[in-house]
Symmetry: D3
Subunit: 156 residues, 6 copies
């Protein structure tokens, strides 16, 4: 059922917020990541009484539910959270560093077995190179992918 | 340039809100309509500092700008509004009342010249019939359209 | 795993609607709440064949699934619904009434153990005070919070 | 608990994409449907680092998880997917063909027991009639519903 | 005021739709493009009476306003449209064809004066190569960009 | 026509992006603000070929159009931008510093003539106090408003 992918199980937290100023939500977002959330995101929703509201979602390891719930209640106006479990299918990952004319860049590689399925230059690594050199970020990404391809035998 | 349609010119008001609780926005929505706004709507937007925010838009006659701006500033957290003008192309409208097994229903008809382009049973009229009879609203709409078609020579 | 919070288990209903006029969705929203749904919300989604569609979500006690499904099928164009279970983490709640210059206002208080985590003036109570007095709703909320704080020893 | 409706259990796949160009997402959408997905949809979400991102959701039979995950990883920039199970409540379906002045149209009928709950002219059937005749699609839908109603005793 | 870019002036059409089934909107989208619209898009909005609605926007040459308005009124439930003018700032464009191991691909190039600012493999050209070869679309895009870079002196 | 409010005229830039990875958009957002944009925001839109896309909007002084367009073209995949003018209605602003138990906080005050219409504790000022003290941000905001009210005669 997992199609040959690695799996793990994590918890999803969700809460619908129809009385919380967005500037508080912006602040709690980073706090959740800093406290170990695997992912955090907002979805625009429409709630009762004509309210343009927000769903806050968090993905986390099961033992983070308590601490992240504490942050959510302190940082927002929520009186409750929903939780459920999801099973993740994941590519195996490794990181390589490639040499480009704009400096060294880390590139994440996603594999299914031995096969390379995904190549993703690491954002912060690219951003630093863009700031250092003044070259547009999109060109840094391009060069990093090219450098990796040049040094790799890729199945596609 | 107007393609043979009726036109008028109205003002559009917009403001981006990244610090306003949605429950205030729900309340101001109806106040704006009650004070004569032609249309009011919310659009989900993403603003600075990771904020899931809302754009509030209002369409109104030019002489309503002042009073509606007063309501917007009183009812939200806005410090400013954007305004510009839009020209509307409009179908001519008339309303007819049709007889259905669920009672009489008003139907809005939209015309370009003599030609019927749009038929729209009036929502409140249908809603009242649905409440009165317990029949699903979607059937009331269907019947009203059918009753109108039965009594009309329609070009399509 | 529940971080010291109260929990319960409820059902989530969801359906994707790509052929339903929004005015029907507006009508079914209130019917679902009136029939005992714990929460109802819309999410904008993009479906096949270039359709800007809507996901309708409902949260309810398990024994409400049947009656609410009946309302959903009667009030929308759905041929199917998705259901799953979610565990809620909840603050304990109590309501206090505070005296303000604009009249008495109910305030919901959310607690973790003895500790006050959330203070939320009750919307309808504030709205009535705003209508009675002509004072902007945002000031009523502010005063209600202040009145509660004045009478309470708050840990933060 | 199923309110008298037919049920089955299917898998939901989801992934949050904050580094994938929308034109790739448009392409993978159809590939997923072609490979047997029951439904596919996009939800606009807001992810970390100020990114206006997209959640891709897929509903499928359990034995399609592997093949559809392969398509998702090949067609997008995802390194992982979330999966969980949902139970569907469904109307029984049958299709009837009705005669209209614009040609024959297939109409899907949704039933709870013997009772007709839903009537939905089949989109592709209507679209072809609209193209063949130049009549607006909305009129074709209207006529198809009317033709079906004329030939049916409908409980509502 | 135009920052050294080419400019032209076009018309924007917009209409808010709170009673139109999404499947009609999907159909009218392509009709508008086929009739010469420069761009068409949907924005999720929230309208009165709790309706999760859609704004349809069209960009077009001024002399297309009439014909496109006719299509909009015939294909949707609109009774009116808003129009205003926008000035576009544009890169100069040219298209080059590059040779890749997956076949020839057209690449759009965007210039400010002599300087290349944008490189975009043409989507349909890439899609056909992907279908012909079974190679993921994202690799085709990558190769096309690389092929162009290899043959070009690029300022960045 | 301006309802007694201060006004100015600024330019709005917009571009629809259906081939730009969200991580580039996150990066360009801050660059636009740093280069003097008055406001920047994203709106989720649905574009042709089933693409879940993004509209990038910028508000700026007229003499910033050139430099900000340069940043937009360099940082995204855009080949063109739309521009138009909007007139802003604005409250007069002043900032006061209030003393709270969590330190001094700046509060923005919005006035129409002599009348206070808006009170907004300055976000960065509150955020720093929250970090310094460990007190939830929402309580800092509350205290700042209260401190200002205590020292002011407010018309409402």
């Amino acid at each position: 059922m997992n199609g040959g992918y690695e799996t793990d199980t994590v918890t999803r937290l969700e809460t619908n917020l129809d009385d919380c100023p967005p500037e508080l939500l912006g602040a709690v977002f980073q706090q959740l990541l800093d406290a170990g959330a695997l992912d955090v995101w907002f979805t625009p929703i429409q709630m009762k009484k004509q309210r343009p509201a927000v769903m806050l979602s968090v993905l986390c390891a099961d033992d983070k539910v308590g601490p992240l719930a504490d942050i959510l209640f302190a940082g927002t106006t929520a009186f409750g959270l929903r939780t459920d479990k999801v099973v993740r299918l994941k590519l195996a990952r490794r990181t390589e560093t490639v040499r480009t004319e704009f400096g060294d860049i880390d590139v994440k590689i996603g594999l299914k077995g031995e096969r390379i399925v995904q190549i993703a230059p690491e954002y912060e690594s690219c951003r630093r190179a863009a700031e250092r050199t003044g070259v547009p970020l999109k060109l840094i990404f391009e060069q990093a992918v090219q450098a990796l391809r040049a040094g790799q035998k890729l199945s596609s």
